[in-house]
Structures are given as structure tokens and as C-alpha cells.
């Protein structure tokens, strides 16, 4: 079976300006949301705080939970519905290290209003502010290190311009995913950093396969011109790109739907990242090479012209 005919020839490269506008708009939307929300919406892993996941014996609602916690004077309390069932909630409190017994207080207070044995504390996460700061720093550094490592590897295996194209595509993917998190009001915590790194890896995987083909084809027929080679390389690998992205999307979708609440945001990040990563390897990473090429050859012509005038 074939989804993509082998002799397909879509003019992807010709649409690079349009693609640039689309990417630009999507990134700007995400950035605007980030600015409006005052930066990324960090979870307790990165800002500190306490999170308690509670399962009730019967269905309840956030308002009622908040009411039964009001006597504790915990400062700002956020109560969020969690997972697929109507009886599971997250309680998030900003306060952290200074109260060893916070979880006990919360469960005691909930039990007094819902009845003993009707409240199951399923998960407690407490992160002190200092640890949160450390984790945030480490998370950012790890993304930076991964990018540097990849830049070095691609420069070594290909050329610097390929590496630059790949990194721009990566930044593009991470920015859009970050924006999607901000717009959908999802929190960024430790596993999301892991998802970002996986996206980086995946997006590159896609990009490299196209690049590899460009390198191969350009070696064979330089006469065709760089832009045409890039376009035909994208077309030749299109079938593979669609199929691999397709299977990966299938499994990530399975994870997103069936993986449960704890991993929901993680799967969401992968979902967006893979979608965007596939797009960027066609519409961002390869056009960057052409822009680079045009700029360089344009610059050379200019130098030549100046030389002639002298």
C-alpha cells in the first residue's frame, strides 16, 4: 500500500514564506499568552509548594472541597479536578517546607467534613522553594546542554549550516509547545522537561532524515540547483515522514487517552511536539538551509561586484 505516490512532487520549498508566516503567528500567539500569564505556568516542581491528590468515596466538587479546607488558613488553595473520574481532585497549596504535617492537616480536615474513611490521600508532593529553584535551573540547563551536544554532533556529521537549521527548527518546536501549554493553562513540571527533551530528539530525528537525503542528492546532481534538490529530497522522504509520524502519533495518542491523569500533560507535550516537529522538519529546517544558501551566495555576488568595480 502507498499513501504517498513515489513520484509525488509538491512544491514545499515554494511555500516557505507562507510557512514562515504561519509559524511566526503561532509562535507569537504562544509568546503573547506567556506574556499575559506572566511567564510559564510552573508546577510545584519548579516554584515549590504542596500538592495533594485526593480520591473521595463519592462524587464531589471543587467548591465543597475548598469550603472544607477554609478553616485551615492555608493561604491560596487551588482545587482542580483530576483524571477521568468525578471523585478525584488535586489540592495545591503554595506553602511548603515550613509545615511537616500539611498533608495530615488536609486529610484530617477533609475527613471531618466527608466522614472518616471516605477520603483517600493518593499522592503527596511537597517541594521546598530552594529545591524548586534548583530543579528549574537544572531543567533549563539540561535543554541547553542537549542542544549544544546536538549542534556539535550535526556540525561534525554534516555541516554547520545544517546544525543551525536543525537548532532553529528545535527552538521553533519547543516555543510552540511551550505556547500550547500556556494557552491551554497546563502546568510545566519535571516530566514536561523530559517531554521537551524527547521532542528535541524526535524533531531532530525527522530533520536529519531529510538532511541526509539532501546531502546525498546534492552530491549526485549539483546542477539542479540547491533549492530544487531540497524540494525533491523532502518529497522523496515524505512517505517515510508521514508513516513514522503517523505511528508515533498513534502511540502517543494511546498514551494521552489511556495513560491516566498523572501522565496526561506529559502525553500532551509529546502530542504537540511530534505534530510540530514533523511540520518543522519540512517547513522550517529545510527552508533555513535555502535562506542560508541564498544569503551566502548573495553575499558572494555582492563581494564579486564590489571587486569588479574597484
Amino acid at each position: 500500500m502507498q499513501i504517498i505516490k513515489h513520484d509525488i512532487n509538491i512544491d514545499f520549498v515554494g511555500k516557505r514564506k507562507l510557512a514562515m508566516i504561519i509559524s511566526g503567528v503561532v509562535i507569537l500567539l504562544g509568546l503573547a499568552s506567556l506574556v499575559i500569564n506572566g511567564g510559564p505556568n510552573y508546577g510545584i516542581d519548579f516554584v515549590g509548594g504542596t500538592l495533594v491528590q485526593v480520591k473521595f468515596a463519592e462524587d464531589t466538587d471543587a467548591g465543597k472541597i475548598k469550603d472544607s479546607l477554609s478553616t485551615l488558613d492555608l493561604g491560596s488553595v487551588v482545587v482542580q479536578h483530576f483524571g477521568d473520574d468525578a471523585n478525584e481532585y488535586l489540592v495545591r497549596v503554595q506553602e511548603s517546607a515550613n509545615n511537616k504535617e500539611l498533608a495530615k492537616l488536609i486529610s484530617g480536615s477533609l475527613e471531618s467534613s466527608y466522614g472518616a474513611g471516605k477520603v483517600d490521600i493518593r499522592r503527596v508532593e511537597m517541594v521546598g522553594p530552594q529545591v524548586g529553584k534548583d530543579l528549574r535551573q537544572k531543567g533549563l540547563l539540561s535543554i541547553l546542554y542537549a542542544m549544544i551536544g546536538i549542534l556539535i554532533y550535526i556540525s561534525w556529521r554534516f555541516e554547520l549550516r545544517f546544525a543551525v537549521g536543525a537548532i532553529i527548527a528545535l527552538l521553533h518546536d519547543v516555543l510552540i509547545t511551550l505556547g500550547a501549554f500556556s494557552i491551554s493553562g497546563r502546568e510545566i513540571d519535571l516530566p514536561i522537561i523530559a517531554a521537551f527533551l524527547a521532542i528535541i530528539g524526535y524533531s531532530l530525528n525527522d530533520t536529519i532524515i531529510v538532511y541526509d537525503r539532501i546531502r546525498e542528492n546534492y552530491g549526485k546532481n549539483q546542477k539542479k540547483g540547491f533549492t530544487a534538490v531540497v524540494n525533491s529530497s523532502i518529497n522523496e522522504t515524505l512517505s517515510r515522514t508521514i508513516l513514522t509520524s503517523g505511528t508515533t502519533m498513534l502511540v502517543v495518542l494511546a498514551l494521552f487517552i489511556f495513560g491516566g491523569g498523572v501522565i496526561h500533560n506529559f502525553a500532551f507535550a509529546l502530542l504537540i511536539g511530534i505534530l510540530v516537529g514533523t511540520y518543522s522538519s519540512i517547513f522550517v529546517a529545510s527552508p533555513v538551509l535555502i535562506f542560508w544558501n541564498d544569503y551566502r551566495s548573495g553575499g558572494q555576488k555582492k563581494v564579486a561586484a564590489e571587486g569588479g568595480a574597484r
Binding site: S142, R213, T247
Partner: protein, 532 residues
Amino acid sequence: MSNSLKIRTGLVLGCLILALVSLGPTLFGSDLPDWWNKTFDPIHLGLDLQGGMHLVLGVDVDKAVESRLDTIVDQSEDLLREKDVIFKRIDRSSGERIIVTVYDEEAGEQADAIMAENFPNLEAMTLTAEGAYIQKNYRLSDSEIEAVREYAVRQALETLRNRVDQFGVSEPTLQRQEGNRILIQLPGVKDPQRAIDLLGKTARLEFKMVMEDANPQDAIAGNLPAGGQLLYERRVDPRSGAVTESPLVVEDKTILTGDLLSNAQVRIDTRFNDPYVAIDFNSVGAKRFDQITGSNVGKRMAIVLDDTVYSAPVIRERISGGSAQVSGSFTEQEATDLAIVLRAGSLPAPVEILENRTVGPSLGQDSIDQGVRSVIIGFVLVVFAMLIYYKFSGLVANTVLMLNLVFIMAMLSIFGATLTLPGIAGIVLTVGMAVDANVLIFERIREELRLGRTPRAALEAGFEKAKLTIIDANVTTLIAALVLFQFGTGPVKGFAVTLSVGIISSLFTAVVVSRLIFDLYLSRSKVDRLSI
């Protein structure tokens, strides 16, 4: 069959058998013979899957330095008295300093000599005259401060390990982390709050004499007599269970500490059926206790634990046996835990809980179920997609995918890696991405076939051309995964592990195993058309 084919078949079969054998304990548990379970461990589940507690404690090392200075202050006070040096006062001051205030130069020089002789780690600092007095400043050397801090963390780790051992958790982990942090992992812990109480308690047991002539109300108002300290006595009403705290002024000076005890055990007071903790001193402690009780008959002695007075009984007579009791209306659980922490020894400095992640067993089981379900569903979807798209070759890819899963699990077992929920997500992701290598190869083969090559030639060319691309594409993901492994903790590290293992395994299965299957297929029959 050619030699190369035989060797490759042997290699792959060998790997497969090793993988299956190593997975025995994971799949069948204790039903297997002993040697099997001893050779291979079942796959470790992370705390997020089996339930348990992950704690990071910070040791307050500055407090350890302060208490070291306090000890020096006490000792030097005694020394100065012994040598008849006349001094006004001696205090600990901020900046890790001790200040001895004397009346004249001569006393100052004496003090200098005594301090230099007994405390070589103190650096004498410049004199600062204040009124008619002379202040001699002594500062702990930087290396000594560092040593005290270092010792505090190591000692705390040791003490916490003792406590955890007595708490009864299977396979606990205690690790020193950067700086003054200690990581503790308690898998499957039933009562998280009790664990926190047990580990977070400093458990500094002190015996201090009560200052009977001091008025606690005055002390609360701020008029603390010299050498006195205001503490609160905890009392529990046996009927209502209400806790009340009443003020008590005790002498600042500690006459005996829990460091000198040799054992602590729970006993039940037969009169009121109240549990209490009986402590036995070691020989040094017993002698001191004997002296103290002997010279203080009729006075009250406060038994202080972490700055709370638990009881302040009147000493009726000299106590020579070297045993005492800590009572304070405990529940049996409280008494048991107190005995544990007293036996394990006190922490050299208070600890603070910096991070606590606790997952209950029910959530862990749910996570496993949901994780496994998504792996299966994802796997089935991919298998169908490949079968429809590539027919026979899709079957090869699916066989290889199945092998891939077996190899990933086997590697987790062999390397003793920990499987976490993000780790399961990593496996799911690998299932999706692993077929990529096969897709690349198959697409190449299709291209070669279109160029009019024979199946065998197309296969050869397809594998050769795709190989480098596959390696390049996977190395970058591997770089990202390795960075993640360095940075991550717990669950996230689990993701890095399965992702790396998955990449290595899918490289091997795609480049070696699926090639082998095709070669075997082509060697057995004359094939003119490749189903791809």
C-alpha cells in the same frame, strides 16, 4: 546457509534466549528455581509505580556549628574557672565567634594562653575595648567550620540509616546528595506521616535542673534569670487527650545528654497502663547520673527532648543503677517511635524536609494498569498499520517490534534499572519510533525496486543506504536522552533510561535482526517479488 548467516542467526538467538531467561523472575516470580532468581533480579519498579516515599532532607549545618561553639563555650568556662582566671562573661556571638570579656590585660593573656592550648582550631582575633573591659574574640577556623559541617551531614546520614533500619521498610535507599542534602527512599511505606515524624525528629535528649526560684511568668515577660532557659512542659490529659503546655524555667546548662545512653525500650507502667520509655545509660552516663542525682536530692530534674520538657520529676534519692525513664502520656506508637529514635541516636543538627513525594499504593497500581494498557493499545495500533502498509515486510517489522519490547525489558532487568511511569511512556514512544528504522529501510528498498533491481539487490542496497541515516537520526535522540539521564531524578530518570535502552535496542533489531529475517527468507526460496 552461508557462514555469515549462521553466525548472525546464532547471535540473535543467543540474545533472545538471554533476554527471555533474564525476564524469568519478572514474569514468574518465586515459582522459578533458586539459582534463576539469584542470577536475575525482577525489574525494579519506581516509587511512582509501587507506591512509597521519596524524601530529601536538608541538614541545618549552621546549627551544628553553633552547637559546637556552645560546647567550646561550656568547656572553656570550666577551664577558665579551674585556672582561676577572673572573667566577666563568655558568650557565643554571631560570625562563629566566642567572646571572653575580662577586666584586665593579665587575665586577657591568661585566657589567650588557655584557649590556644585547648582549642587549636580557634583563631584569636583583635581586641576590641568596650568601656573598662577587654573583649577577647576567638573565631573557629574555616577548615574547622567545614569539618563540623561535613561531620554533621555524615553523622546525620548514619543516624537516619539506623532509624530507617528499625522502621522496617524493605530495600530503603539513603544517599548523600550535593551539599547538605540527604535523599531517602522508602518503597511501600504504609504510614507516611509516621515516617516523617520519625526521620524529622532531632531527638536530642537532655537532662537539666529546674530553677525552682525563678518565676515562669516573669520569664515569659522577658525577665529570664542569668543562666536560665524558658521551656514548655507538655502534658496530655489522659481522658480528653488534650495537650497543654506549661512554662518552666530550667538551667541553661545541660547536665547529661542522650548521647550517653546504651539502650531505650518501651515499658508499660502497670499502675495506669501508660507506656513509657526506659533508658539505660552506658558506664560513663551511669556514673554521671549517679553523681548528679546524689548531689541534687529533693530538687527537680527536667527531662527535655528537642526543647520540650516531657517530665520534671523530683529526685527522691541517689539513682545508681544507670537507668531512667521518659514518660509523658505517650500512646504506644509514640513510645515505640521515641525508643527507636533514642536508640538510633540524636541528629547532630536539626533536619528540614526539602522535598517529599509520596505515592499511595492504589495510585501506583492504577498507574501500572494504565501504563500497560497504553503500551498494549499503542502496540496493536502500530502492528496493524505496518501490516496494512507493508504486508509481508510489515510482518517482519512487527516481529522485530515484539523482539524490541522483549529486549528493552531484558536490558532493564539486567542493568538493574528502575521502571517508572514516565519510563513506561518512554517504552510507548519507542514502540512508535522503533518502526521508523524499518520504515526507512523499507522505503529505500521500494525505491531500489522501482529502479528495477532484483529483490536481493534492492534489499542489500536498501539496508546499506538506510543504515547510516538511521544511526545519525538515533544518535541525536540518544544525546538528548543521556543529558536527561544526567539531570533527572526518579521518574524522569526512568524515562531517560527506557528511551536510551529503546533506541539501542531498536537500532540493533532494525539493522541486524530484520536484515537477518529477510536474508533467511531469501536464502530458503527463490524470490522474484518482494512483498513490501
